[in-house]
């Protein structure tokens, strides 16, 4: 196969990312509307979409700031929710060894769920073209632009949403949407149930330490059961 030019790679990335935007744009609208409903300023609401640039994390920050949760707890939750990106990072890293530091920094910033999904498919399908990172850039920038634009529209629309709507329930729903599809086997389900039950029993622990205890017990449960199966 003849290697594609940089321009061809870039536009392939843009084209392959486009259908995914159908799922991303409503999410951006939802985030923008939510941020405004918890009284974040227009500037802060929009800036978060480029500073954090991660849908679930942004929903969490907006919700928890609105609920008056301590900054430390918010940051811990953001960190944990983003851990899956470490797995994406490990997965694309072998394809990016030849790149300079500038490219690595830029593409890391653009490594979202949706950009990862199309890029890794492309990397695994096509042979080793030296300019494949242009595909990643095309997909990543397409998603980034759509995210900024849909946030802006969400902020504008959000100002019109009545305060009585139960938008606070979006947070546990977001978590359900993230966790349930990762429960592929009994080990995962066991870890989730144990952590959930301990979390329920430990809700009154001081400074939200119950969450930490529950998470640790859940993780150890998962590792122990997995170890016994081997």
């Amino acid at each position: 196969m003849i290697a594609k030019t940089r321009k061809q790679e870039f536009w392939s990335g843009v084209r392959d990312e486009s259908p995914i935007l159908l799922g991303v744009i409503p999410f951006g609208l939802l985030y923008g509307a939510l941020a405004i409903s918890v009284h974040l300023s227009t500037l802060a609401s929009q800036a978060m979409s480029s500073i954090i640039f991660a849908g679930a994390s942004q929903l969490i920050v907006a919700q928890l700031v609105g609920a008056g949760t301590s900054g430390l707890v918010i940051l811990m939750v953001v960190f944990v929710v983003n851990l899956r990106h470490a797995l994406y990072s490990a997965s694309v890293a072998p394809h990016m060894r030849h790149l300079g530091a500038g490219w690595k920094l830029l593409l890391s910033y653009l490594l979202t769920d949706e950009a990862y999904a199309v890029t890794i498919t492309h990397y695994n399908r096509e042979g080793d073209s030296p300019d494949r990172h242009w595909y990643f850039l095309g997909a990543g920038l397409t998603l980034w632009s759509a995210w900024q634009a849909s946030t802006a529209v969400g902020i504008f629309v959000g100002a019109q949403i009545p305060a009585s709507w139960p938008l606070g329930f979006v947070l546990p729903l977001t978590f359900i949407a993230l966790v349930v599809p990762t429960l592929k086997d009994r080990v995962g389900v066991a870890a989730a149930l144990v952590a959930g039950l301990v979390g329920l029993l430990a809700t009154n622990f001081p400074y939200k330490t119950g969450l930490l205890v529950a998470a640790l017990i859940g993780i150890v449960t998962g590792l122990l059961i997995e170890g016994r199966q081997k």
Partner: protein
């Protein structure tokens, strides 16, 4: 903590996680148990947040079919399991919550 400080630290955490292995792969070898444990971290932390929010929406345990958050949460879990789609799950859960609250006259 100021919202801008939370945003900037949260942004750095997100960026650092995305950069982690792209930057480190040539430099260190990650132990196997650590990589396996990583998979359970989001599962455990998020489940510990989700369950109390569904069973005790107002701070006290409320295990009943008259608990709209619990029922709507179960609907969302079903949709998430069937579709694996974040947005559909959120929409289904919100619609379920509103409908159930109406049905229960809340």
């Amino acid at each position: 903590m100021n919202i801008w400080i939370i945003m900037i630290i949260g942004g750095l955490l997100t960026f650092g996680t995305r950069l982690s292995f792209i930057f480190l792969l040539d430099r260190i070898k990650v132990p196997d148990w650590f990589r396996r444990g990583l998979r359970f971290v989001p599962i455990a932390v998020l489940s510990a947040i989700i369950l109390p929010q569904l069973t005790s929406p107002n701070g006290t345990l409320f295990l009943s079919w008259r608990n709209p958050q619990l029922l709507a949460g179960l609907v969302a879990i079903l949709v998430a399991w069937k579709t694996k789609n974040v947005l559909l799950t959120i929409l289904a859960g919100m619609v379920a919550l509103v409908v159930i609250q109406l049905l229960l006259g809340m």
